[in-house]
């Protein structure tokens, strides 16, 4: 009986192993450069501070879109943490396509980490993407 079960299970196990092994790990990366237009604007309120900026987005020197970025600093987060919530929306230069990233911005080094939180039709491939970078570059892994 045991041998029979093993014989029946073996092909399934082998098939599952083959499927697992054949799952492609094709994580691609792309880096965008942000060039601010105008100045960074701080807006203080009783709960913290907003920081707003926006400008042009480049890929390998080619102008591919525009960005709108806002950072939120909260008095509820200890100053030792020194991080803000950051949200950046990239408006693609062509078509009606956008994607938005959300993450954190560390004021100590300027480093940002997070992921793509919203993607329009046209950018569905970025739905589960993550990113890292700073205020001038964003490397998306998708």
């Amino acid at each position: 009986m045991t041998i029979s079960i093993k014989r029946h299970l073996l092909p399934g196990v082998l098939a599952a192993a083959a499927m697992f092994c054949s799952i492609p790990s094709q994580a691609a990366q792309t880096t965008f450069n942000f060039v601010r237009v105008g100045s960074l604007t701080n807006v203080d309120d009783s709960a913290g501070r907003w920081q707003f900026d926006g400008g042009n987005v480049f890929r390998n020197g080619a102008h591919v879109g525009y960005y709108i970025r806002k950072k939120r600093v909260s008095f509820g987060v200890p100053s030792s943490v020194n991080k803000a919530a950051v949200e950046t929306t990239v408006i693609w230069k062509w078509g009606n396509y956008t994607f938005t990233t959300q993450g954190t911005h560390y004021f100590g080094t300027g480093a940002q980490v997070g992921g793509v939180s919203a993607a329009s039709v046209g950018f569905t491939g970025l739905q589960d993407a993550t990113y890292s970078g700073n205020h001038t570059t964003m490397t998306i892994t998708y």
Binding site: V37, A62, G125
Partner: protein, 149 residues
């Protein structure tokens, strides 16, 4: 003298003929190598032509710049600038119109103009990833020519 003619001359003729034959073979080899290089070059040119992608637009670039310049107003808000969104100013209006004007953009693939809008709208997530992987690689590398007519 007769001995010289009977022995040396035939040897010299054989050596001379062998030398000519060898030169001919070297020349043939060089032509073959050249042919192989030309075949590879043709294949590379053919491949480059197929991967060439060109964005195309009916939208003139100066108009785009003119409309894009307006968001500067929005980049400098102040704490007391709480305008009702319904009371949009003239500077706020062009932003959505940009997307509308650019929907007729397309790209050229393998020598044919293609409607990018419909292509992207019908792609699966996996296809979309592949599409952008190619596009992102091509952008700025010279393979993808971006321009406004």
């Amino acid at each position: 003298m007769r001995h010289f003619i009977n022995v040396i001359v035939p040897i010299a003729l054989v050596i001379g003929l062998a030398s000519i034959a060898r030169s001919q073979m070297d020349l043939n080899d060089r032509f073959s190598a050249l042919d192989a290089r030309l075949v590879r070059l043709d294949a590379r040119l053919d491949s480059a032509a197929k991967t060439r992608v060109v964005y195309r637009s009916e939208q003139a670039a100066p108009n785009v710049q003119a409309t894009i310049a307006t968001p500067e107003v929005a980049t400098a808000p102040s704490a007391d600038d709480e305008r009702n969104p319904q009371e949009s100013t003239e500077a706020d209006v062009p932003v959505p119109s940009i997307a509308m004007e650019m929907t007729d953009r397309g790209y050229m693939y393998a020598g044919e103009w293609t409607d990018m809008e419909s292509q992207l709208a019908t792609m699966s997530v996996a296809e979309n990833k592949k599409f952008w992987a190619q596009m992102f690689d091509a952008l700025g590398s010279g393979e993808l020519e971006v321009y406004d007519e």
